[in-house]
């Protein structure tokens, strides 16, 4: 047995703090108790040997060579292939399923019905099959005969609030008030003090996560006492309990494995309906079942980002002070609740009043997606602020500073404005000559990014000098593996290659699900804690070798262990350890992480006013995040956030047919993802003026302000305010028409 870290003799003083816990991708704040006494910190951000440098990913070579194994790549002996039959109607009841023909097909091993009898969206699971090949499984789906009682449906939000609209959920009204804040009378009265008023509606289409690896799992159960679930998930530990329940096993008998996973963006927590069906198929057949959604399934039944419909009104004084705001915000979450941050988002707008509603339609439930609810609120707030600035002829950057209190935004606005060349901007919207008009826009975002106490990390040093850091967490492609190694290596004065990591397995130490940018602020402090404890254990062992009085005096650097002028190599130091080595157990330390990140995005676009085509030219995003664990992957996260926003701003949107109630673009041929040809010049900037010596999550923060920046750039270029995403050419041309910039004969 490895030697255990000894608990400290006297109980440490405690304090209570609030931390985020992620449930289904959404943060919930809970109060926990942590040690008041902190212990060694990270040290200044510019004094690290590995962290805050540019480290290539340790799993990069595997991924580049096609050797990384994903859930989709699992193939087990005797494995069956599962497929799901989806409802073709937007609202229906299943009255009969005839599986005679399907079950007669050779190779079809099981056919089961999905649990719900009433189906509230086109794409809902009706039945599932397992067969010896994917082709035969599809044959079986085609041979299943389902009789439906078709019910009335509504898929367009404005139709859903009309009197007599079909009810999406029988027991509920389609429209439900969820929150109201502020004093409506005071807000109404405050408009009297405004010199200018803007009143407008802002709409965000629902967009899809479009993870390249679809949702799904491989259930390795053969009728025995235990099972292994290979899952494409953002939470290793969100799998075993629900899978065990489906399989009729104790939770401890089910192991979840997540070696590599191909994208989640908020959509992959828990086993999902597909996992439930996979478990049931496996239980019935006593054989491993692989059930990965098809791309079509992924679009129609794997969730999406909540749509948004926001009616805003704000009043501003000529000096740039916003004095009043009213908001009526609809969260468009289909059969789900949807999400939307409250207005006036991060701005101070004097007397503000808002009402937030969930508005149901017969569509697949919206689920968490990178910064749930924030991009929608940010797009509307940033568009509104921009409209107000133009109305009083004030520079949009100066106007934002006037209405934002946090000085971090002021510094970030200045830095990013310089990078994009804001001084080149023509203040007259649409004022540049010629048909190809360039414009600049900006916007601001916020996120929490705090950690919590769910990670339990083991660091083991062996007698041969090998170092292993182990925890059950998952690496979504954010670089978790790499910074885990680097934190430990830095503590021991080693290189990244001298440490190995083991993650992605529920039999290892616990870890939080990766949602809400909580992974690194939860995990990194726990890894650091484990590394410090293990270093002290090792120091106690080698103190006598070095004649050091106290283990704390021993220095670990440059692959050497030194004290008082004496020095041994890392290998020599470790040779004194028992064969099984020593293990330190790390837990979360609140002082090693923090909360609150800021981001500012600037965009330049070129709009062809003859065709309405928008070409992004350049995007700049500056982001703070305390201690950047790895500069290379931090920048990649910023790029990723900008690119996903670019898609949502200009091209992506779920298109529904009102009559049929079905999605018209459930594939990459019709749902336009950003591609290589559309990529502008991208400048990711790490805000090094943030001196916090603490780890904070940044993935959500970089996915918020770009929508507003791009929409505002389009306005600056054309003089057309497109208030509905995505900003497609038709909307720009219609705007030019109604502006009088384009005549009907031209159009």
């Amino acid at each position: 047995m490895p030697q255990q870290a000894q608990p400290s003799p006297s109980p440490k003083p405690k304090k209570k703090i609030r931390v985020p816990r992620v449930v289904n991708g959404v943060e919930q704040m809970v109060e926990i108790e942590v040690d008041e006494d902190s212990g060694p910190g990270w040290g200044p951000n510019d004094k690290h040997t590995l962290l805050n440098k540019r480290m290539t990913r340790v799993d990069g070579p595997l991924k580049a060579a096609g050797a990384a194994r994903y859930t989709y790549d699992q193939r087990l002996p005797g494995m069956l292939y599962g497929r799901i039959l989806r409802c073709p109607h937007a609202h229906a009841r299943v009255t009969r399923v005839d599986s005679n023909a399907a079950s007669a097909i050779p190779g079809v091993k099981a056919i089961i019905q999905a649990p719900l009898k009433e189906l509230r969206y086109a794409g809902a699971a009706v039945a599932a099959v397992a067969a010896t090949s994917p082709e035969i499984a599809e044959d079986a789906l085609r041979a299943l005969k389902v009789t439906y009682e078709v019910l009335p449906h509504v898929v367009h939000a404005p139709d859903a609030i009309k009197p007599g609209a079909p009810k999406v959920i029988e027991q509920e009204n389609n429209l439900q008030q969820k929150a109201k804040n502020g004093d409506p009378q005071k807000a109404e009265a405050a408009f009297a003090g405004a010199d200018e008023i803007v009143e407008a509606e802002y709409i965000c289409a629902r967009v899809h996560h479009a993870c390249l690896e679809t949702h799904g799992m491989v259930v390795d159960y053969r009728g025995g006492n235990e099972a292994t679930i290979y899952a494409s998930t953002q939470g290793t530990f969100t799998i075993p309990a629900d899978a065990a329940k489906e399989l009729g096993l104790p939770q401890s008998a089910v192991t979840a494995s997540v070696e590599h996973m191909g994208g989640g963006f908020g959509s992959k927590f828990g086993i999902g309906i597909e996992g439930m069906l996979a478990c049931r198929l496996s239980k019935q057949t006593k054989a491993p079942v692989k059930l990965m959604l098809t791309r079509y399934d992924e679009f129609v039944m794997a969730g999406n980002r909540s749509g948004a419909w926001q009616k805003l009104k704000a009043g501003v004084k000529k000096d740039g002070t916003i004095v009043a705001m009213q908001a009526r915000q609809y969260r468009l979450g289909g059969i789900g609740q949807g999400s939307q941050a409250g207005q006036p988002y991060i701005y101070t707008m004097g007397e503000a009043y808002r009402e937030i509603y969930a508005l149901h339609t017969n569509e697949d439930s919206a689920i968490a997606m990178r910064a749930p609810g924030h991009p929608q609120a940010s797009f509307a707030a940033e568009s509104l602020v921009d409209e107000l600035a133009y109305k009083i002829k004030m520079d949009p950057v100066a106007f934002r500073k006037k209405n934002l209190r946090d000085p971090v935004y002021h510094r970030q606005l200045d830095r990013a404005a310089q990078e994009i060349g804001w001084s080149r901007r023509n203040p007259v919207a649409g004022g540049n000559p010629g048909p190809l008009k360039r414009g600049l826009g900006c916007a601001v975002g916020i996120w929490g990014g705090a950690g919590n106490d769910q990670c339990k990390v083991d660091v083991t040093v062996s007698g041969d000098g090998a170092v292993l850091v182990a925890v059950g967490t998952q690496d979504l492609g954010t670089g978790t593996r790499t910074y885990m190694r680097a934190i430990v290596a830095e503590e021991f004065g080693l290189g990244v290659k001298d440490v190995q990591e083991r993650i992605g397995n529920s039999k290892l130490g616990g870890a939080n699900p990766s949602g809400g940018s909580t992974t690194s602020p939860s995990l990194a402090p726990s890894v650091k804690d484990a590394a410090i404890k293990t270093r002290l254990l090792l120091a106690q062992r080698v103190a006598s070798l070095l004649g050091a009085a106290k283990p704390e005096e021993i220095v670990f650097a440059d692959k050497k262990v030194s004290a008082g002028g004496r020095s041994v190599t890392w290998q020599e130091a470790c040779a004194s350890l028992p064969a099984a080595g020593i293990t330190g157990h790390g837990v979360w330390r609140s002082d090693l992480s923090s909360r609150g990140v800021h981001g500012v995005c600037f965009a330049e676009v070129e709009v062809d006013v003859e065709t309405g085509h928008v070409k992004p030219i350049k995007m700049v995003h500056i982001q703070d995040g305390g201690l950047p664990l790895n500069r290379l992957t931090f920048e990649s996260q910023i790029n990723g956030g900008m690119i996903q926003s670019l898609g949502q701003a200009l091209w992506e949107g779920r298109v529904m047919d009102a009559q049929l109630g079905i999605q018209l673009n459930p594939g990459f041929g019709d749902y336009k993802l950003p591609g290589t040809l559309e990529m502008p010049e991208m400048v990711p900037i790490i805000d090094d003026d943030d001196k916090r010596e603490a780890v904070i999550g940044i993935a959500e923060g970089c996915n918020i302000p770009s929508l507003g920046a791009l929409a505002n750039a389009v306005f600056n270029a054309t003089g057309v305010r497109v208030r509905e995403l995505p900003i497609t050419p038709d909307k720009i041309l219609m705007g030019l028409l109604s502006n009088g910039s384009l005549s009907r004969t031209q159009a």
Binding site: T56, R57, D59, G60, P61, L62, K63, A64, A65, G66, A67, A68, Y70, Y72, D73, R75, N100, A101, A104, I105, P106, S133, P134, E135, E138, D139, R142, A143, K145, C211, L212, E213, T214, H260, G262, G263, F265, M292, T294, R295, L476, G477, E635, S636, N639, G640, G641, M642, I643, Q644, G667, F668, G669, L673, P674, G675, T676, L677, M679, M682
Partner: protein
């Protein structure tokens, strides 16, 4: 690849399933058709042996005529070849890109029987984690990958392109891999990696 190809493939898949009479994949089988199918165990769905030359190795696999090359590699070859990823299965994303006789193709749009006896190269055949080719090494160096699911496709596309055009411009690189999607947002780094790999192999 054009839409036409996708349609053609769908047609062929349909033929494989139920004979020329029921060529559309979305078509629901009638009971009679199912019985007919069952009565003909030696019919088209039975399949036959195909020799696939994957990454320099001749491998025999038994597949139905409708089985795509991608599906044959991932689900029928044993051990499987899983570098090419199944993402859209209809020729829109490029994650399944392989080289057939050194030309990049979407392996979800090629039937396994049509790839018989041709030289098939996947990302695994271009290099290994220990001995990557120049493009794979540059992808790691420039952080041109995040979740990594699109990466084998990009690496394969770019490796083939640099052979054709060893000194591309940024615009040419973008054009060369316009048939590959990434969702994490690695594009800027993919371009950097491609240009660096080109520069490196010229030096």
């Amino acid at each position: 690849m054009s839409k036409h190809d996708a349609g053609r493939r769908k047609f062929l898949k349909g033929v494989g399933i139920a004979g020329a009479g029921a060529a559309i994949t979305d078509h629901l089988w009638t009971e009679a058709e199912a019985k007919e199918q069952q009565a003909k165990p030696n019919g088209m769905s039975r399949g036959g042996k195909v020799v696939l030359n994957v990454n320099g190795e001749e491998r025999t696999v038994e597949v139905e005529p409708r089985t795509t090359l991608l599906n044959a590699m991932r689900n029928h070859l044993d051990p499987a070849v899983t570098g090419p990823k199944l993402v859209c299965d209809m020729g829109t994303c490029g994650a399944c890109t392989v080289l057939i006789d050194d030309k990049p193709v979407y392996s979800c749009l090629v039937l396994a029987v049509d790839a018989a006896n041709k030289k098939i190269t996947t990302a695994e055949g271009l290099g290994t984690p220990e001995k990557p080719n120049a493009v794979q090494a540059a992808f790691v160096e420039h952080d041109a990958l995040m979740c990594g699911f699109c990466t084998p496709g990009f690496v394969t596309t770019i490796s083939a392109y640099l052979k054709k055009n060893p000194n591309p411009s940024l615009a040419e690189v973008k054009e060369a891999c316009k048939g590959n999607f990434c969702r994490c947002g690695t594009y800027p780094r993919v371009f950097e990696a491609a240009l660096a790999a080109a520069k490196g192999s010229q030096a």
